[in-house]
C-alpha cells in the first residue's frame, strides 16, 4: 500500500542541466518533503545530495522556495522559511564535470518534527530517494 510517507521525495523528470553558450556549469532538480504539514528549512537535517556517489558540498548548492534562493549550508538557520505542504523546492547544484549520459542522483535528509521533543531528543523522519537521470 502507498501511504503519505512513501511518496518519492525526488520529482521525476525534474532534472535539468544548467548551461550557457554551450558550457555546462551545473544542474537542478525538484523535491518535496513527504510531510503532512509545512516544514521550516531549518528542520531539514543532514541534507545530502550525491551525483554518481559524489557528495555535493552544501556550499555548492542552493535551495529555492517561493522564488527565493538560499545557500544549503545556511539551512540550519532558515527557521522562518517554510516549504508549504504539497509544494516543491528546487535544488540548484554547481557542477563543472561532464553531465552527458546517464547518472545516479540521490537525495537524503532527516525531517525534524518541529513540535515534538526538545533539543537533543527530537523526532526526525528519514527521507531517502534516488533516481537515474540522463542528458
Amino acid at each position: 500500500m502507498e501511504n503519505i510517507f512513501t511518496r518519492t521525495a525526488l520529482v521525476r523528470d525534474s532534472f535539468q542541466v544548467i548551461s550557457y553558450d554551450d558550457i555546462q556549469y551545473g544542474f537542478f532538480f525538484r523535491f518535496n518533503t513527504k510531510d503532512t504539514r509545512g516544514i521550516y528549512l531549518s528542520c531539514l537535517e543532514k541534507f545530502t545530495v550525491e551525483l554518481d556517489g559524489v557528495e555535493i558540498s552544501p556550499y555548492d548548492m542552493t535551495i529555492r522556495v517561493d522564488g527565493k534562493e538560499y545557500l544549503v549550508a545556511l539551512m540550519p538557520e532558515l527557521s522562518s522559511v517554510v516549504l508549504d505542504l504539497g509544494k516543491e523546492a528546487t535544488v540548484k547544484v554547481r557542477w563543472y564535470g561532464d553531465l552527458s549520459g546517464e547518472h545516479n542522483l540521490s537525495l537524503s535528509f532527516f525531517d525534524r518534527v518541529p513540535f515534538i521533543g526538545c533539543t537533543g531528543r527530537t523526532v526526525a523522519a528519514p527521507a531517502k530517494d534516488q533516481m537515474k537521470v540522463g542528458v
Partner: protein, 318 residues
C-alpha cells in the same frame, strides 16, 4: 443537556492537499455538502506564511467560511519547540507564538484554539487575560502515548481543576480509545505476509489478553507474525477509556480520530457509541472534528467517502 456539533479537521485531507492539490475552498465546499457545520483549520498545514498569515489571507478565509455557512470550530495551532537548530523555544517565545495563534483565531471568528501539549501550564496561566479579552478557550490535545497521569499532564490537570475548564481544557483525540487494531493495521499485516487465518488467531489471542510471549509460543509464530503480534500488543493494549469521563468533563472540543470506517459505519478499533454516550453524560457542548488519518497507511481510500461515513455514524449516535 449536551450539544454535540460535527466539524471536520483539514488534517483529514492531508493527502488530498499534498498529492491531489485540492484547495481550501474545495475542502470547505465538500465538507459543507456532507453536512458538517464547522472545520478546524490546521495552521501549519494550510496557512500561507505560517505562522504569520497576511491580513488579505485572513479576510479571504473569513469570506470563504461565510460563503459556505461554515463555522471555524477551532484554529489548530502548533508550538514548534524545536523550530530553531540547536535550542528550544524560550517560555517568552512560546507565550508570544501562542498569543499570535489566539489573535488569528479571534480574527477568523473562532472561540477555540487547539494547541500542543508542549506549551506548558505556566504559559497558559500567563495567557488567561488574553483568553478573557478574546473569549477564547485553549485546548491541549490529549494524544497517544501521553495520558492524564504522566509528569507532563499533571500540572495541566491541576490548572484545569482550578479553572473549571472555563478557559483551558482537554482536546481528547479518540485515537486514545482504540481497543482493537484498526482496518489499516489488518491490511498492513496481511500485506506483510500474514495469512488471514493466522492474523485472526493472533487477534483472538490479543482479545483474550494472553501474554504476547505465550501467544507467540502457543501459535509458533514465525518472524513476521511475531512482529505483527508485538506491534498489536504495543499499539493497542494501553487505552484511556478509564479516563474518558474526566477528559470530556474538561473539554469543549474533540478530535474524532479514526483510520477507516466500513460501509456499515463500523470502526473495528474504536467504539464511537461509547464515546458519544460519555459526551452526553458530561453535557458536552461543542464540536467534535472528524480527523481521518487512513492516508497514513493507504492513500488509495477516498477521503470524502470516509468523512461522509463519519458524519452519518455520528449523526446516528448523537
Amino acid at each position: 443537556m449536551s450539544n454535540i456539533k460535527l466539524s471536520v479537521s483539514t488534517f483529514s485531507a492531508g493527502k488530498d492537499f499534498a498529492i491531489d492539490g485540492i484547495s481550501l475552498e474545495d475542502f470547505v465546499r465538500r465538507a459543507a455538502e456532507i453536512g458538517y457545520t464547522g472545520i478546524e483549520l490546521v495552521s501549519a498545514q494550510l496557512v500561507p506564511g505560517y505562522p504569520y498569515p497576511t491580513d488579505e489571507w485572513i479576510e479571504e478565509t473569513k469570506a470563504l467560511l461565510e460563503k459556505y455557512n461554515m463555522e471555524l470550530a477551532a484554529y489548530g495551532g502548533y508550538v514548534d519547540v524545536v523550530r530553531f537548530s540547536g535550542r528550544d523555544l524560550t517560555k517568552e517565545e512560546i507565550v508570544s507564538l501562542t498569543r499570535n495563534d489566539m489573535v488569528i483565531a479571534h480574527r477568523l471568528g473562532s472561540k477555540v484554539l487547539k494547541t500542543g501539549e508542549s506549551i506548558g501550564a505556566d504559559v497558559l496561566r500567563e495567557l488567561l487575560p488574553d483568553c478573557e479579552r478574546w473569549d477564547i478557550w485553549i485546548g491541549m490535545e490529549l494524544h497517544g502515548p501521553e495520558d492524564l497521569h504522566g509528569a507532563r499532564w499533571t500540572p495541566y490537570m491541576e490548572l484545569f481543576r482550578e479553572d473549571g475548564g472555563k478557559h483551558f481544557g482537554i482536546v481528547p483525540d479518540t485515537g486514545i480509545y482504540q481497543e482493537m487494531p484498526n482496518e489499516m493495521f489488518v491490511r498492513e499485516s496481511l500485506e506483510a505476509g500474514v495469512s488471514p487465518e493466522r492474523y485472526a488467531a493472533i487477534e483472538a489471542g490479543f482479545a483474550a489478553k494472553k501474554p504476547v510471549d505465550d501467544l507467540c509460543a502457543e501459535l509458533n509464530l514465525n518472524e513476521v507474525e511475531a512482529k505483527v503480534a508485538n506491534q498489536m500488543y504495543g499499539g493497542y493494549t494501553v487505552n484511556q477509556i478509564a479516563d474518558m469521563d474526566v477528559s470530556f468533563q474538561y473539554s469543549r472540543y474533540a478530535h474524532g480520530k479514526y483510520f477507516y470506517l466500513e460501509e456499515d459505519l463500523r470502526d473495528r478499533g474504536i467504539n464511537f457509541a461509547n464515546i458519544v454516550e460519555c459526551m452526553k453524560r458530561q453535557n458536552y457542548d461543542g464540536f467534535i472534528s472528524a480527523e481521518y488519518e487512513g492516508y497514513f497507511h493507504d492513500t488509495s481510500e477516498d477521503t470524502f467517502e470516509q468523512l461522509d461515513r463519519f458524519y452519518r455514524l455520528m449523526e446516528s449516535l448523537i
